[in-house]
């Protein structure tokens, strides 16, 4: 079912509440990053590009690689917002017996490429998957989400060069550019330079959007899908979006009381 943008915005709002709610129960989750990438995940799942009710391994479909695997709670929250997970299950995330582990694992639901916890590796796997789908003659696309911090890993550039060289138009890359990484602001940790320019130099087309404007993200996806060159969407975002004390900081943790308070403020 295709959803209109107004309902996409409703979904984002609901999912953002769920991300914050989970933070009240799971001190091990990466709250800030899940909040920055949320609209991107909504633009992919909320429009039917990706589906929650697809068995892993099924053919003739699109694939999702969340290379910044620590933001997996954005996927859990959206799944719950769309009715594929219960809130009860969300509360269990990060527990030893829960399917909803803090990084995508082999038993994690809704994940095509698990084990993307180690940064940089999901990019290569997405490129391999896209090469493989093209070799099989399958029409499916691979949607790859990476982060600006992740781009520090040299492996990402090794594989982006391959994507450009083999002109992988079935790979759609979204960079969740939230300007913050573990040790702080990227400007202080390690300057990224002209991120768009780095991709353009390899031969990518680059579309830059406000990553919190789900309409803009969807429009950029459409553009990428119709391009004859591989496209990178740079989604400018705010880490921790919606939780004022952690917005645009490297902070991850909030108390359960704060989590419930901010969840209420969202929508």
């Amino acid at each position: 079912m295709e959803r209109g943008v107004s309902s996409l915005e409703g979904l984002v709002c609901k999912a953002r509440r769920y991300v914050v709610l989970m933070a009240g129960y799971d001190p091990g989750m990466h709250l800030g990053s899940s909040l920055s990438v949320l609209e991107t995940v909504a633009a992919l799942y909320g429009t039917g590009r990706l589906k929650f009710n697809v068995a892993n391994g099924a053919h003739n479909r699109n694939y999702f690689v969340l290379s910044k695997g620590h933001a997996i709670h954005a996927v859990y929250a959206l799944a719950a917002a769309m009715g594929y997970l219960t809130v009860d299950e969300l509360r269990e995330t990060g527990s030893i017996g829960s399917r909803l582990q803090n990084h995508p694992e082999t038993d994690t639901p809704f994940v095509d490429v698990p084990n993307s916890g180690s940064l940089g590796q999901g990019v290569s796997m997405a490129v391999g998957l896209a090469l493989g789908l093209r070799l099989r003659g399958e029409p499916g696309r691979v949607y790859l989400v990476t982060g600006d911090g992740e781009l520090d890993e040299g492996q990402t550039w090794e594989s982006f060069a391959v994507a450009a060289h083999y002109n992988l138009t079935n790979l759609v890359t979204i960079v969740d550019l939230n300007n913050v990484q573990l040790d702080g602001h990227s400007e202080e940790v390690l300057r990224k330079g002209d991120v768009a320019g780095r991709f353009k130099a390899l031969g990518f087309d680059v579309v830059e959007v406000d990553g919190h404007d789900v309409k803009e993200v969807v429009a950029a996806l459409e553009k990428a899908e119709n391009n004859t060159k591989p496209t990178v969407i740079i989604a400018r975002t705010i880490r921790g979006r919606g939780v004022p004390p952690i917005e645009d900081t490297a902070k991850q943790r909030i108390s359960r009381d704060d989590a419930l308070k901010y969840a209420n403020d969202i929508c």
């Binding site: 095509d112 590796q121 796997m125 490129v127 391999g128 998957l129 090469l131 493989g132 083999y166």
Partner: protein
């Protein structure tokens, strides 16, 4: 009929892959600017659509191979063994944790690349891949065994590491057995007094050592393990029991490799007098692998001497 003995190990590798590509449409081959040096070119010539060069980028090589496996292919990724280990964490997180059918082929292993010196001489790769729970580790001795091991690797469900040399080999397995079975050891010589366990090229050194020992009235068994993992525990146990003295010889560091695998098993099941011969330091640039085997003491004479000592110390 293909004369495997006349091929170099890397030619046997390229031929095996090209032939495998005829049999299986799901086989794809990736290289890191190593299409010529690994002889993957032989596959590329026959199956150009299933050959990918990712440039000098080993981490990307292994990760892209994992992605191709997720898309339903059986990727063989080839580069120098010394540089394959650069992507060890990718082998762990992108391949082994998912138990994907990715085959990593490390060529120029051990002292095979004498010219390029220690930076290019992998002496730790067996240890590094052996520690990963889902990996199978194959260490063929000569060109015949390279061809057979690569062919047999297609039957393995999970990931496989295959250790291959370059041009130097001493034919020893062509007539030793008919069929290569993953996980099986092959008895190259029967003996009572001491068992010499080999993997890779050390098989030929051990066979010569056994001859030297025979001249001194010592009966040495030579048991060859082209599969280091899963190790043929029954063969280990049988020859440990029948001889009471086990000497493991490998073209690899003595820590963590094939000898360690044997020792780990015996220490926990049937403590046996044992010695491990191999390397304890990095290699050197030299004119040939043979020169390096001499320089670092991996010779039939030294193996015979060590076996004799092991028996006397019992």
């Amino acid at each position: 009929m293909l004369d495997l003995e006349s091929l170099t190990p890397r030619e046997a590798l390229g031929r095996a892959l090209a032939d495998l590509g005829d049999l299986r449409r799901d086989v794809v081959v990736l290289v890191a600017d190593t299409g010529e040096t690994t002889r993957a070119r032989l596959f590329a010539e026959r199956h150009p659509d299933r050959f990918f060069n990712v440039g000098i980028a080993e981490q990307s090589l292994v990760g892209i191979a994992a992605g191709l496996a997720l898309a339903g292919f059986m990727p063989y990724a080839l580069t120098f063994a010394a540089f394959m280990t650069r992507a060890w964490e990718q082998a762990r997180n992108s391949v082994d944790r998912l138990a994907l059918p990715v085959r990593l082929v490390g060529t120029h292993a051990g002292f095979a690349d004498a010219y390029d010196g220690p930076s290019h001489q992998a002496l730790e790769d067996i240890a590094l891949f052996r520690v990963l729970p889902n990996f199978t580790v194959l260490v063929p001795a000569d060109s015949c065994e390279v061809y057979r091991a690569v062919t047999a690797s297609a039957t393995v469900k999970g990931p496989v590491y295959i250790r291959v040399g370059r041009d130097f080999h001493i034919p020893a397995t062509c007539g030793l057995y008919d069929r290569f079975e993953v996980g099986r050891a092959y008895v190259a010589a029967e003996g009572r007094d001491v068992a010499i366990f080999t993997t890779g090229i050390t098989l030929s050194f051990a066979l010569e050592a056994a001859q030297l020992l025979r001249d001194r009235g010592i009966s040495a068994a030579v048991v060859h393990f082209p599969t280091v993992k899963p190790l043929d525990y029954a063969a280990v146990e049988k020859y440990a029991a029948s001889t009471g003295a086990v000497l493991a010889v490998e073209e690899h560091m003595v820590h963590g490799g094939f000898g360690s695998a044997v020792a780990e098993y015996l220490a926990q099941t049937r403590p046996t007098k044992m010695a491990i011969m191999g390397l304890k330091s990095y290699g050197r640039t030299a004119k040939s692998p043979q020169e390096l085997y001499q320089y670092f003491g991996l010779t039939p004479e030294n193996i015979a001497a060590r076996a004799e000592e092991l028996i006397k110390l019992r």
